[in-house]
């Protein structure tokens, strides 16, 4: 992993640029716990996690899920109550933050208001007693890297939010950290800028090869940027996987609802054949789905299916297909698609999304329709 990343960097880099944080480190959480108030409050509950050198891993979860606390323990601002954290095999849970050589971009950017951009970026280098010429050169190079050449003399308050974010990134990279931590770094920016910076940070990661641990509650951001995502809830990791795995094969109802939108249909597991489950949904009848976890026949189960995987049945004639009768309850235009809500026979509702194409008739409220989805797109959780 490191090898490929390094090779890539060399080929992409122009001659004058220096790499920053080029050698990423592997990070391992081993049964890490964090308790507060004499153990009454469990913020992080036995997290074990392997992050490969050079990987972009995102900790994704709602507030209070323990993602930020996990990041703070990696940065050294919190000490684990139990377990150990390793960076390149070295146990660091007891190492003070200033000796860890881990870069961090804070949610508020945390740029020093009394220092210029140049002084902010030079700060970690001066602490490392680098020669003056080297400090000046590195500062210039890293500002070029983040697209703010010549900004050394400005003060943070003179910059826009996006520019401050770039300076914070430059400052976190300039001292060649082994790992770069980012705590909701784009949360304060508007949507368009956020989306642009997501792609820029992702490109930068591919160029530099530094290990990045990224914290966000924005699932879209996590899907766009990450090599892998660890979904956290209530202090535990619910599921780890590539964005695609998490989206297509959510392991739990929480993951299915947190990442993207999902329909949940409650029913009873009737039988399991050829890796397919047949679920009896009251008022609808038997539906087929692929199985996610371990279930026994007769169990109460929930089948999920993504809104954009559901089509009106007249548009598709697959063999491996669930088709059900429904009544359209609402139609909402959401820009790139129409969002329908339809009620099934048993009273449960499903949501489906369909892109609007010329020549396709709109369904209207109250209309009886047949909707369906590929058996492989339904999953038991």
């Amino acid at each position: 992993m490191t090898m490929t990343a390094a090779t890539k960097t060399t080929s992409e880099r122009t001659a004058s640029e220096r790499t920053f944080g080029a050698v990423g480190a592997a990070v391992r959480f081993d049964g890490v716990e964090k308790r507060y108030g004499g153990g009454a409050v469990v913020a992080v509950d036995g997290v074990s996690l392997d992050i490969a050198a050079g990987e972009f891993l995102t900790l994704l979860g709602p507030s209070g899920s323990g993602k930020t606390t996990s990041l703070m323990m990696l940065a050294g601002f919190e000490t684990p109550s139990a377990g150990e954290i390793y960076v390149d095999g070295e146990a660091i849970a007891a190492v003070p933050p200033y000796k860890r050589n881990i870069g961090m971009v804070f949610q508020s950017y945390a740029l020093f208001p009394h220092m210029t951009v140049g002084e902010n970026i030079a700060f970690p280098l001066k602490l490392r007693k680098r020669a003056k010429a080297e400090v000046a050169r590195s500062t210039k190079d890293v500002l070029d890297l983040v697209g703010l050449p010549g900004y050394e003399g400005r003060y943070p308050r003179q910059l826009s939010g996006g520019q401050q974010q770039r300076v914070a990134l430059a400052r976190a990279l300039v001292f060649d950290p082994r790992v770069l931590l980012m705590d909701e770094p784009l949360g304060a920016l508007d949507k368009q800028l956020r989306e642009r910076l997501q792609l820029e940070i992702k490109a930068l990661h591919e160029q530099l090869g530094v290990t990045i641990v990224y914290v966000t509650h924005d699932q879209q951001e996590a899907l766009v940027m990450s090599d892998r995502i660890a979904v956290m809830d209530a202090g535990k990791i619910e599921q780890i996987g590539t964005p695609n795995q998490l989206y297509e094969e959510p392991a739990s109802r929480f993951v299915a609802s947190f990442i993207g939108e999902s329909n949940f249909l409650a029913g009873r597991l009737q039988e399991q054949v050829d890796g397919h489950a047949v679920v009896d949904v009251p008022g609808v009848g038997p539906l087929r789905a692929s199985t996610g976890g371990q279930h026994a026949v007769g169990d109460e189960v929930v089948a999920t299916v993504r809104p954009e995987k559901i089509v009106f049945a007249d548009e598709a004639a697959e063999t491996e297909f669930n088709a059900v009768e429904a009544t359209v309850e609402s139609v909402v235009f959401v820009g790139d698609a129409y969002r329908y809500e339809a009620r099934l026979g048993g009273g449960q509702s499903i949501v489906l999304k369909r892109q609007h194409r010329a020549g396709v008739a709109q369904h209207v409220r109250g209309e009886r329709v047949r909707v369906g989805w590929d058996v492989a797109d339904g999953r038991l959780v």
């Binding site: 940065a75 601002f77 933050p97 050589n101 961090m104 508020s108 020093f112 009394h114 308050r157 001292f175």
Partner: protein
């Protein structure tokens, strides 16, 4: 037609805006009137008196007028010398008290600002209770403590540290102790306000970038707390310049501050000299205030840590 309507509309809006401004000005009126009548007028009267009482260019300035050189002024046993000396003592005490309150107050403010707000508020009461107690009461309390038969002397003699009671009261040291005690909250409060406003993530960022705790303090916390230091020092220094009760009660005969001299002149009905002294003190305080604000800016001094 439409254009005329538009202009009328614009005039109406401008009128509304003006009326709003007038209303705001009315809010200021009572305070301004009060200050002009009870403060502006007396100060102006004092200003006049300082130069023309008992008569324009009278003996107040005689030494200055008759002296042929600076040496004359220094060697001559003129009242002018005494005044200069008193101003010297006053400045010295004010500076000493400012420095001491800063040294004592900074760590206290730092600790308070580092604690969670609930605990900090509780401890803040310890700072504020003396603040709410009359200066007179506190000065008398120090007289009781420092006197020949006072608690401190009884203790020192009791444990055999001193053979006989020490002269603690009516010394420069007693003046310092009393004034530092009274003025300490005026240092702690602005320091605390500024320190509370310092974003904690800045300290974390510094540590993350490789700064040891001492370096975090030196390069991040200290510079960001300087507006508080300036505000506290300014407040304490200017208050100390005009101190009267505490030095009068605790000081010795040689520890005369300007305000005591003014009182002396007033009891001797030397209104002209008293006014002149008061004016010089006022100019002193204003000059220091202007110098501070010029260097730091009022906004930074009283507007919190964030520029």
């Amino acid at each position: 037609m439409a254009v005329v309507g538009r202009e009328a509309q614009a005039r109406r809006f401008a009128g509304l805006e003006r009326r709003g401004q007038v209303r705001l000005a009315l809010l200021l009126l009572p305070a301004v009137a009060f200050l002009l009548f009870f403060y502006g007028y007396p100060v102006a009267a004092m200003l006049l008196r300082s130069v023309n009482d008992p008569a324009w260019g009278s003996q107040n300035f005689e030494p200055l007028v008759t002296a042929r050189s600076t040496i004359d002024l220094v060697v001559a046993e003129l009242p002018m010398n005494a005044y200069v000396r008193v101003f010297g003592i006053t400045l010295q005490i004010a500076l000493g008290v400012t420095a001491a309150t800063l040294l004592l107050g900074y760590p206290v403010a730092y600790a308070l600002a580092s604690l969670p707000p609930t605990q900090a508020n509780l401890l803040m009461i310890l700072v504020l209770v003396p603040f709410w107690t009359s200066i007179l009461v506190r000065s008398y309390a120090w007289m009781v403590l420092l006197g020949r038969e006072g608690l401190i002397n009884q203790f020192l003699v009791g444990v055999g540290f001193a053979g006989e009671p020490l002269q603690l009261l009516n010394t420069r040291g007693a003046v310092y102790v009393g004034m530092i005690h009274v003025l300490l909250p005026f240092m702690i409060l602005p320091l605390y306000a500024v320190m509370r406003g310092i974003d904690r993530s800045l300290l974390r960022a510094a540590e993350n970038l490789g700064a040891r705790p001492s370096q975090v303090f030196r390069w991040v916390f200290l510079p960001l707390s300087l507006p508080g230091v300036a505000a506290g020092c300014l407040l304490v220094f200017i208050l100390a310049l005009g101190f009267y009760i505490t030095p009068a009660l605790l000081g010795g005969q040689r520890d005369v501050m300007v305000s005591m001299l003014i009182q002396q002149q007033v009891t001797q009905l030397n209104w002209g000299v008293a006014s002149a002294l008061a004016l010089v003190l006022l100019v002193f305080a204003l000059a220091i205030y202007v110098a501070f604000t010029r260097i730091l800016g009022v906004q930074r001094l009283f507007g919190g840590a964030r520029a």
